[in-house]
C-alpha cells in the first residue's frame, strides 16, 4: 500500500510540475521527430474522419454527370472521378472507412490474441502445446491469402472484410503476448493470487493481462497500418468494401486505371492518402515501441 501512495504522490508532483503543453510538444518533437510526425498524420486523419460531414464540400456518393472527370481546380480541389463525384469528399469520407476497418481489425484481433496468448501461457502444459501448434498452422498462411480465403467464403462487404483481416491478426498477437506472459507467470504474485483462491479468469484478466499491455499496444498500432493496407488491397481487387461506399482502395480500381492517362488525379490522390496514413501509423508505432519496450530503450 505504501508503495502505491508514494507512486501517487510522485504522480501528483509530476503533474503539478508538468511543463506547459507547447513545451511538452516541442520536447517530444526534439526527442521523437519521426514519431511526432506519425502522430500528427494520425490525428489529422482522425479529425478528417470525425468531421467528414462538416468539412467535405460535396456528397461523396451522389453521381454528378455534368461534372465528370474534371481536373483539380477552384470548384473541385482534387478533381472529380468518372461519375462526377468529388474526389476530395470521397477522400475525407474514405478516411472514415479506413479508420473504421483499421481500428476494428486491430482492436478485435489484438484483444482476442491478448486473451488467448495470456491464457496459453497461464495454463501451460498440453493446452499451451496444442494452442502453439494451432497458431503455427495459422502463421503458415500469408496474411493476404488467408484474408482472401475468408472473403471467398463470406463474400465481400465491409463486415466480412473486417472478419477476414482480423483472423490472421489473432495468432500474430497471441504469439507475441504469450512470450511476455510466460515471464509474468513465474513472478510470485501469480502464485499468491492462485493461493488466495482466485478463479483462472480473474487471474488472467486482472493480474496478467494488465502486465502485457506494452506488447499489446505495440501490436495494435502495427495492425492498424497493416489493416488499412490490406483493406485497400482487397477493395482494389473488388473483394473488399463495395461501391458506393467511399474507400481509398476502391477509388483506385475501375476508373482510376481506365482513365489513368487522361485523368491521372483519380489514381494519384487516393494512393497518396493510403501511403501517408500507413506511413503515419508505422512511424507512430515505432516511436511507441521505443517508448514502451524497456529492452530497446536501454540501448
Amino acid at each position: 500500500m505504501a508503495v502505491s501512495e508514494v507512486q501517487v504522490e510522485a504522480a501528483v508532483e509530476e503533474f503539478a510540475e508538468r511543463a506547459p503543453l507547447p513545451l511538452v510538444v516541442l520536447d517530444l518533437i526534439r526527442r521523437q521527430p519521426l514519431g511526432t510526425a506519425g502522430a500528427f498524420i494520425v490525428i489529422i486523419m482522425i479529425l478528417m474522419a470525425a468531421s467528414a460531414e462538416f468539412i467535405a464540400p460535396y456528397d461523396p456518393i451522389v453521381n454528378d454527370f455534368a461534372n465528370m472527370l474534371l481536373a483539380p481546380g477552384a470548384e473541385f480541389w482534387m478533381g472529380t472521378d468518372e461519375f462526377g463525384r468529388d474526389i476530395l469528399s470521397r477522400l475525407i469520407y474514405g478516411a472514415r472507412t479506413a479508420l473504421f476497418v483499421g481500428f476494428s481489425c486491430a482492436f478485435i484481433g489484438a484483444t482476442a490474441g491478448l486473451v488467448l496468448g495470456v491464457a496459453s501461457a497461464y495454463f501451460g502444459g498440453t493446452f499451451d502445446l496444442i494452442f502453439q501448434r494451432v497458431m503455427d498452422v495459422f502463421m503458415a498462411f500469408p496474411l493476404i491469402i488467408l484474408a482472401l480465403a475468408v472473403v471467398s467464403i463470406l463474400g465481400p462487404g465491409i463486415q466480412n472484410v473486417i472478419i477476414a483481416i482480423t483472423i490472421p491478426f489473432i495468432p500474430n498477437c497471441a504469439r507475441v503476448v504469450r512470450s511476455s506472459a510466460l515471464a509474468i507467470r513465474e513472478i510470485p504474485y501469480i502464485d499468491a493470487a492462485r493461493a488466495l483462491g482466485f478463479s483462472h479468469a480473474r487471474i488472467i484478466l486482472r493480474h496478467m493481462v494488465p502486465n502485457v499491455m506494452a506488447p499489446y499496444l505495440i501490436m495494435i498500432t502495427a495492425f492498424v497500418g497493416q489493416a488499412i493496407l490490406l483493406e485497400a488491397s482487397l477493395s482494389y481487387l473488388g473483394l473488399g468494401v463495395q461501391e458506393p461506399t467511399p474507400a481509398w482502395g476502391l477509388m483506385l480500381s475501375g476508373g482510376a486505371e481506365e482513365y489513368a492517362e487522361s485523368a491521372p488525379w483519380i489514381a494519384i490522390i487516393p494512393g497518396i492518402a493510403i501511403s501517408l496514413s500507413v506511413f503515419g501509423f508505422n512511424l507512430f508505432g515505432d516511436a511507441l515501441r521505443d517508448a514502451l519496450d524497456p529492452k530497446l530503450r536501454s540501448q
Binding site: 503455427d136 498462411f141 500469408p142 481487387l237 494519384i268 494512393g271 508505422n282
Partner: protein, 323 residues
C-alpha cells in the same frame, strides 16, 4: 546436421497437415455448402436437382471424413481435382501460370536484395546522420506505399514518358513469353512489377541489414580489426557484413516464400496471368475447388521455404542446430 534436419522436418509435417485441415474446414463449414452458395449467387430460384448434381459432381454428398482423406490423398498424388469454373484439371491451370509467378518472385527478390543490402549497410555505417534518416524514411515509405498503387504509378509514368519522348505511348507487353525464348521481351514485361514489389519487400530487409550490422559493428573482433589497422572497407565487407547476413538471409528467404503466392494484387495491376491472378479469379468466380487447391499450394510453398531457410540457417550457424 542430420538430427537437426529430422527435427525440423517433424515440425513441417504436422503444420502442413494442420493447414490442410484448416483449409478443408474453411471450405466446408460455410453456411449451406459450396453448391448452394454458388448457385444462390446467380439468382433467387435454383433447381434442387442441379444442386444435387453439383454435390455429386464434386463429391460433397459423401461423409466429411471420406472427403477429407480423398482430398489429402489427391494432394499427395498432385491431383487437385478439376476447376469448377474452367472445367480443366487444377494442376493444368496451375502449370500454365507457375513459371511466370516463379520468375517474378525471383526477380522481385533479386531487386529487393540489390536495394536492401547497400542501403542497410550505408544506413548502419552512417548511423544517426541525415543519410541514415533518409534511408530509414525511404524504407518505412516502402512498407507504407501499396505496391499496387506504385504499380499503377509506374505504368502511368511509362505512358507519360514514352509519350513525351517518342510521341507514341508504350505499354509493357501483356502476353507472357518465357525468358529463354525472348529475354528482352520477357524482361520488358516483368521488370516493372518486380520493381514495384521489390521496393516494398526491400524495406524489411533494409531494416534488418541495418540493425544486424549495427550489432556486429559493436563486437570485439571488429575493434580488433580496426586496432590492427585494417581498411574500413575491408572491415565492413569482409568481417562485418558476412556475419550480419544471417538474419537478412532469413528475412529474404521468408519473403521469397511469401512472394510465390503473395503477388496477388501486383499481378492484377500489371494484368499478369500468374498464380496470384488465378487466385483472385477463383475467388471472384466462386471456384471453391480451385481456391482450396491454391491456398494449399501457397501454404505448402511457404512452409517448405521456411524449412529450407531453417536448414540454411542451421548450416551457416552451428550454434542454432545444437541449441
Amino acid at each position: 546436421m542430420y538430427q537437426y534436419i529430422v527435427k525440423r522436418l517433424l515440425l513441417v509435417v504436422p503444420t502442413l497437415f494442420g493447414a490442410a485441415v484448416l483449409v478443408f474446414l474453411l471450405m466446408h463449414l460455410i453456411p449451406g455448402d459450396i453448391c448452394e452458395l454458388r448457385m444462390a449467387g446467380e439468382g433467387g430460384y435454383f433447381d434442387p436437382q442441379a444442386i444435387d448434381d453439383c454435390r455429386a459432381e464434386i463429391g460433397i454428398d459423401r461423409p466429411m471424413y471420406v472427403q477429407f482423406f480423398d482430398w489429402i490423398w489427391g494432394i499427395i498424388r498432385f491431383d487437385f481435382g478439376t476447376s469448377m469454373w474452367t472445367g480443366q484439371p487444377i494442376l493444368y491451370e496451375m502449370g500454365l501460370r507457375f513459371e511466370l509467378s516463379l520468375q517474378l518472385a525471383i526477380m522481385t527478390t533479386v531487386i529487393s536484395v540489390l536495394i536492401a543490402i547497400p542501403l542497410g549497410t550505408i544506413s548502419a555505417i552512417k548511423q544517426d546522420t541525415w543519410i541514415d534518416y533518409v534511408v530509414r524514411s525511404f524504407s518505412i515509405a516502402g512498407i507504407a506505399i501499396p505496391s499496387f498503387w506504385l504499380g499503377i504509378m509506374i505504368i502511368l509514368g511509362i505512358l507519360v514518358i514514352t509519350q513525351a519522348w517518342f510521341g507514341i505511348p508504350w505499354m509493357p507487353p501483356i502476353k507472357y513469353v518465357p525468358i529463354w525464348v525472348d529475354p528482352g521481351y520477357n524482361l520488358s514485361m516483368l521488370i516493372w512489377p518486380a520493381v514495384a514489389t521489390g521496393y516494398r519487400y526491400s524495406a524489411v530487409a533494409t531494416r534488418m541489414t541495418r540493425s544486424a550490422l549495427l550489432e556486429v559493428l559493436r563486437e570485439d573482433y571488429i575493434r580488433t580489426a580496426r586496432a590492427k589497422g585494417l581498411l574500413e572497407k575491408v572491415i565492413i565487407n569482409r568481417h562485418a557484413l558476412k556475419n550480419s547476413m544471417l538474419p537478412v538471409v532469413t528475412v529474404i528467404g521468408i519473403e521469397f516464400a511469401f512472394l510465390m503466392g503473395g503477388l496477388v494484387v501486383t499481378e492484377q495491376v500489371f494484368n499478369l496471368n500468374g498464380l496470384g491472378k488465378l487466385f483472385v479469379e477463383s475467388v471472384i468466380n466462386k471456384d471453391y475447388t480451385l481456391t482450396q487447391a491454391l491456398v494449399m499450394l501457397v501454404v505448402t510453398i511457404f512452409v517448405l521455404m521456411n524449412f529450407v531457410v531453417d536448414l540454411f540457417y542451421g548450416w551457416l550457424d552451428p550454434r542454432i542446430r545444437y541449441a
